[in-house]
Amino acid sequence: MAERIDLEVPATLNALSTVRMVLGGLGARLDFSLDDLEDIYLATDELLRTALDADPLDRLSVEVLLDEGVLRFTAGTFKSAKLRADVTMHAEDCLDLCMLLRRTVDDVVLEDEGGAYRIVLVKRRQGGPA
């Protein structure tokens, strides 16, 4: 059965550590391997850092959904066009946010909500025990 955790933290770099710790605990519950966890740490860290730079927010809302070996991380809502471009557009031979996300999570989805959007990262358990 799916389990949902909502988290709201100050929109500061210091708060990213709290997000990582929560993700680590939830990933451990899904029996994610260390490599999988490192991937989700990198993906969320880079995404949220870019988001903090691009969108002037006071609070950052994060939702984590756990379901049968799948961790679905949602952050938002955002309005920045730059962030949207950074997440979706990849320049060849450039280690940009888009490429980093492609290499670390299974799916990246943008959910539009009126003029704003939320970013969803999906990570499936891969390297853990059978």
């Binding site: 680590g24 451990a28 031979d93 450039c94 290499r103 853990g128």
Partner: protein
Amino acid sequence: MSGPDERRVNDPLDLEAPPGQARAVTAEDEEEASAHGGPAAYAQGRGRDDSEKLDQYLLRRYHLYGDRAAREQLITMYLPLVRSLARRYASRGEQFDDLVQVGAIGLIKAIDRFDLSRGVELTTYATPNIVGEIKRYFRDKGWSVRVPRGLQELNIRLNKVIDELVPKLQRSPTINELAEAANATPEQVLEALETSQAYNSVSLQASPNGEGGEEDAGLIDYLGGEEEAYDTMEDRTTLAPGFAKLDKRERYILHLRFFEGLTQSQIAERVGISQMHVSRLIRRSLERLREEIGELDNPQIMRPPGDDPR
């Protein structure tokens, strides 16, 4: 202190005297040396030539005749100097006793490498060796923020456990498996992993086991076999924004992770360093890239032409 008559009978400074008859440095001598700031300063009080000759005598005994007792005596004599130098660094978050131990390694290296023909005092030669060893300790083993000792120890334990479990399981371990193997709770493991990012072990000149001694092979040596592979990817990744600012090894590790798609465990195995070290290097390299790209602020690369940045 020995009087002139006594020295004549049992003179440790007589280089021709048989080893068995050499006068050992007494506790009284050490205490006095310590009180006066070490053997060199002590020498000024009791006669500079005497102390220099004592050093020289002991160094000759050790280097020419392999007299281990003379080496031990030199180490004991100069420990007050090590303590004095370690004290300078004691306020930086490391245990004083640990710094003394590290400094003592520098002292021993200085004694072992001392060249009798160069005509310098042991103090002059030993001081930079001791300070260098302490600084290397901070550089290679230091933490950028204060981390509780228990977590530091768990971190070190985890490093070993991960290296043992990956080949055993033939995959990256889970947090629960790490917790069981490290005799800790999953929460403690997660906390230790989180704090490991505060670990300053980024020097690729340091050896993978973190010792960082000059005789130890640095990471650069472990990467030697990969030079050919590195060269083939060089053209591709140096063109990426910000990559030029990274050093060769950082570029190589990022290349393996993001262009070749290797996992951190696979990179650790390929490069010959721990998975935790790979994790730290990737994060720090990304941080540097982010800073560099921020400075470049090149909209042609990061955004489509004409797109509103906001």
